[in-house]
Amino acid sequence: MEEKENMTAERSLEIITEQIERSRQEVTKDTGLSLYVAGLCLMGMSLLIGICILITSNLAYYLLYITLPVIVYFADRYAKRNKPKVPASFVGTMVDKTWQTFGIFAVSFFVFVSLYNFLMGRMESPEVYSRLTIHPFRIILLLMGMAITINGYILKSRWMVWCGIIGGIGGFVWESFYVTQTLVGWIGGYTINNYCGIAFGIVPGIMIAVYSFIGVTLPGMMLKKKSL
């Protein structure tokens, strides 16, 4: 851009509009890249945890989710290396804050439930424990559906709103009625050794991966390609 001072009023307005629009597109693309990276990390992590539980039947692998914010942070920095830092926009900030809120609530709830289940397992008899135990997955699916729905409203994407509502409530009902475990029981093909790995490992892992793809990766790809 040259240094011209004899501009017409039309040219001045053109520069203002052009610059604001260009900045908005750049910010939207940047937000899209962040969401895309976070979505891929979440998908990879959920599948990795699912596979680890499938192989070992050890539910402690769920604790790997706690490392996710750090992994997403470094992956995001790596994806944006050699690029100038893009300033925050209102839409970008809203999307970021929604997922941050989800992260805070989901991780806190997960840590509380893990401790609670661990203590109950130590203090109570197996019969009492089986009734007292809390399965965190259904609440996390509900929270995730809520976050997807809010993002759908922010990004003005109707299909995302409905994916969030159906996925969140559907996932909650699915998990509350132990549909996965019932289906695994009906279909069979498991042994006493790998039942835990299938019902509590790989199936929830695939479900979280699908949710992350719809709620995080796909909107990220959309934002990266076109600005809203």
Binding site: M1, E3, E5, M7, L13, I16, S23
Partner: protein, 98 residues
Amino acid sequence: MMFPTLDPLLHSELRLAVMSLLVSSEEAEFPYIKEQTGATAGNLSVQIDKLSAAGYIEVEKIFKGKKPCTICRITPVGLKAFKDYVKALKSYLSPPKS
């Protein structure tokens, strides 16, 4: 009919582009402004200094690790000047009926 005077500091392509960019974001780093405006580093630096001297923007120089980094932010004075400039432009494009 009298037309309002356009702020000479803003009535320049590059300075106006920088201000428009900063109006739509809280703050922006020098390389980002350079990339968005397509200006040369030297020219951009001179125009940023002029805007800063007028109090329209504030410039903060920090270090990111070992690399120096210049951050520009629009000030309330700059925001008001920008609003007045746009208002004046509108009157040029659609002059009030007298």
